[in-house]
């Protein structure tokens, strides 16, 4: 069996363990609530974390690119980027996979699997910096956009070009 097949065969186990490890990065009482199988909208962090982990593991069983990996892992990283985590803590949940892998793969396969985990970690880190960038940009421009733009349209102020200010967002 190749690596993808082993992942596919053990999908449920991997998802469950990875999910558990991820929510355990939160304070214990929070983790208990996040881990509950409640309505998606009553538990957005828990449900998004689980769904994203499922999607990533699904992706691992197929052909994927660095980009598709990054988009797939986005929802979970987007949440962690605004929570009380340092950059390292925010993406650390990916490395829990290495521990999970140790039980599933023999010595030959484990290096291959670890390399896979490394690529997930890099994707997560890329996404994390993009999210942070978005946050800083929103912080820098939102009040100007809200109020300044209205004034500008009315011709009451003119010194600032909003389009220039926002240009970097679109790239």
């Amino acid at each position: 069996m190749d690596l993808k097949q082993i992942v596919k065969k053990n999908k449920k186990k991997i998802v469950d363990q990875w999910f558990k490890a991820t929510i355990e990065t939160y304070p214990a009482n929070t983790a208990k609530i996040l881990g509950k199988d409640s309505n998606k909208f009553d538990n957005p962090v828990g449900s998004t974390t689980r769904e994203t982990i499922e999607d990533v593991v699904d992706l691992l069983c197929r052909e994927f690119t660095a980009e598709s990996l990054e988009t797939t892992i986005d929802p979970i990283v987007r949440i962690r980027a605004v929570q009380a985590f340092t950059a390292a803590e925010a993406v650390s949940f990916v490395f829990a996979l290495k521990r999970i892998g140790e039980e599933l793969f023999d010595a030959d396969r484990i290096r291959e699997f670890d390399r896979l985990v490394d690529s997930i970690a890099l994707a997560a880190f890329n996404r994390y910096s993009k999210c942070k960038e978005e946050i800083y940009l929103l912080k820098a421009t939102e009040s100007k956009r809200r109020i300044h733009r209205a004034f500008e349209r009315a011709g009451l102020v003119a010194e600032l070009n909003e389009e220039d200010l926002l240009g970097s967002k679109k790239s």
Binding site: T30, F41, R78, L138, K139, E142, R153, L156
Partner: protein
């Protein structure tokens, strides 16, 4: 559900994970991105509030008055005597945990101190220590303090209060789920009053309040600029519709005084909602002779005094009635705002009323008497417009909003604060064919806050705001993906600003629009030219196809 969490786990053993330990032993860490800057001492001075000075929440020394502990104790005592709800809320919580996972800030940040029960406990622990006999007796035996859940007031505790009571948007969602109706928002309101006694205000509240007190609106915009903005809207509307919708100002003897939050006049996308009001009033004037006046004096419907203290709220609110009296109107019509309505609905009448000089609001066009506003004399514009639509008094062309696939965000205050649930939906559905509600546990009385209310819509606390916005965003993303929703309707000025940022981070393909923006687009003005663009100068759906 949350009843799986036992009371002792909830409080005494709230575990801060990796390190472990109870919540009381976990000192507060004031983290940038999560708190708002301290207020400008000038604003504090203008308002005559105590201890005006420049200070920084990250500093060790908060430059408090020497007797700060005494001030807090006295402040608590006065409020326990004055507000029965506060006293009751301090005593009756049974720590059942039903509220624990109902706060958007807890759900978004994952910080246990944002569980409503624990947020209240931050203050309740000091209340027990200072005001209950049980705690006094227990404090004499070893381990007794822990047993009674009490602790003395220290600087650490004060910092913890400040950090977490400014992580509550006073949205009251938790109270919907509490079997005893404990409203943590009211506890936050008391805590913030006490902060004001010590000069621990935040600038995003204190400066708007000071502006409003001096100039009449939160942004401190003077009357001529207020008029300039409306003039500019009138020009835009004329370009789009060919009709001049110029409003009247300070007109004595008008039928109705219209007051809206200044955000509608000065901030996008509220400005389009404002144009919707102008179009509606022009229509009603032409068709039915309704005489509506604006006022550059009562140029703010919002009331950030509500986030400061009862007295400050009262001061700012008074100008609405004063202006209505001066102009001799029959009653007041209020625009699309959030907390403005909580103040009107729950406080204005007893605070600055009764407004005997006004009439019980009656829609002269339909004959409807707004019984719900019998004593405040102030009607919400979506009730008014819904009434007009219901009686067939408005000619609406829905096709002009056909590019919009709508959902509706119930703002906390109009929904939970005054029960305004169906009217905005009714107006939207009469202006647009495509409407899909978000899941039921996220709307109406159970609506999730935008995460930026109660004076927390600043830039520096954006991480807190985005985390708090997650529950709302999750529901929005769902209807966006399932039904192709592309527009989030709302009837609150803070929301129009806050939700726009929320969407940009969480659901970038969704735009935010006020309900009366849709009305403005759909309403067929007498004598209008064929419209080609909507109020945002985007091509109308029909003309796009050609």
């Amino acid at each position: 559900m949350s009843d799986e969490i036992k009371p002792d786990e909830l409080l005494d053993k709230i575990d801060y994970s990796t390190g472990g330990g109870s919540w009381m032993d976990t000192p507060v860490q004031i983290r940038p991105g999560m708190y708002c800057y301290a207020s400008n001492p000038k604003s504090v001075e203008t308002l005559g509030l105590p201890n005006a000075r420049a200070w920084n929440p990250l500093d060790d020394d908060w430059q408090l008055p020497d007797n700060w502990q005494e001030i807090i104790h006295q402040g608590l005592k006065e409020r326990l005597d004055r507000f029965r709800t506060f006293k009751v809320f301090m005593d009756i919580c049974v720590r059942c945990g039903a509220c624990a996972d109902k706060c958007h800030f807890f759900l978004g940040t994952g910080d246990p101190k944002n569980m409503p029960v624990l947020r209240a406990e931050l203050l309740r622990s000091v209340y027990r220590n200072d005001f209950t006999t049980a705690a006094k007796i227990l404090s004499k035996i070893p381990g007794g303090k822990k047993l009674s859940g009490s602790r003395p007031m220290t600087l650490e505790v004060l910092k913890e209060w400040w950090y977490y009571f400014f992580q509550c948007t006073e949205c009251r969602r938790c109270s919907v789920f509490c079997p005893y109706g404990i409203d943590t928002a009211e506890i936050t309101i008391m805590a913030r009053e006490i902060f004001n006694l010590l000069g621990l205000n935040i600038d995003w509240i204190a400066t708007p309040v000071s502006n409003c007190y001096q100039t009449g609106n939160h942004l401190g915009i003077q009357p001529h600029a207020f008029k300039d903005m409306l003039d500019f809207f009138v020009e835009d509307i004329e370009e789009i519709t060919g009709v001049n919708c110029a409003p009247q100002y300070q007109k004595k003897g008008a039928d109705i005084l219209f007051i809206t939050p200044s955000g509608d006049v000065f901030a996008d996308p509220g400005t389009y909602t404002c144009q919707g009001y102008l179009i509606l009033f022009k229509y009603l004037k032409e068709k039915y002779g309704l005489d509506v006046t604006w006022s550059t004096y009562a140029s703010e419907g919002g009331n950030f005094g509500f986030f400061t203290s009862h007295e400050t709220m009262k001061r700012l609110n008074a100008k609405m009635y004063a202006e209505a009296k001066r102009l001799g109107v029959k009653w007041i019509l209020g625009g699309e705002c959030g907390h403005m309505w909580r103040v009107i609905h729950q406080y204005m009448d007893t605070m600055n009323g009764p407004a005997d000089f006004l009439e019980v609001p009656k829609n002269p066009i339909t004959g409807t008497v707004f019984e719900n506003a019998k004593s405040t004399k102030m009607v919400h514009i979506t009730e008014f417009t819904a009434d007009l639509i219901k009686h067939g008094k408005l000619e609406l062309d829905k096709s002009r909003n056909a590019n919009r696939v709508m959902t509706f965000h119930d703002s906390c205050n109009p929904s939970r604060g005054m029960g305004l649930l169906d009217e905005p939906r009714y107006v939207i559905q009469n202006c647009c064919d495509n409407f899909f509600d978000m899941p039921e546990n996220t709307i109406r009385e159970q609506t999730f806050c935008c995460g930026s209310g109660a004076g927390l819509n600043a830039g520096e606390n954006i991480e807190l705001r985005m985390a708090g916005a997650l529950p709302r965003a999750t529901a929005l993303k769902y209807v966006h993906e399932k039904f192709g929703v592309n527009t989030l309707g709302t009837i609150c000025a803070i929301d129009r600003a806050a939700l726009t940022t929320l969407c940009e981070y969480w659901v970038p393909d969704v735009e935010v629009a006020g309900v009366h923006e849709l009305v403005g687009n759909a309403l067929i003005l007498p004598g209008e030219k064929e419209r080609e663009e909507d109020l945002r100068f985007e091509p109308l759906p029909d003309s796009e196809e050609e």
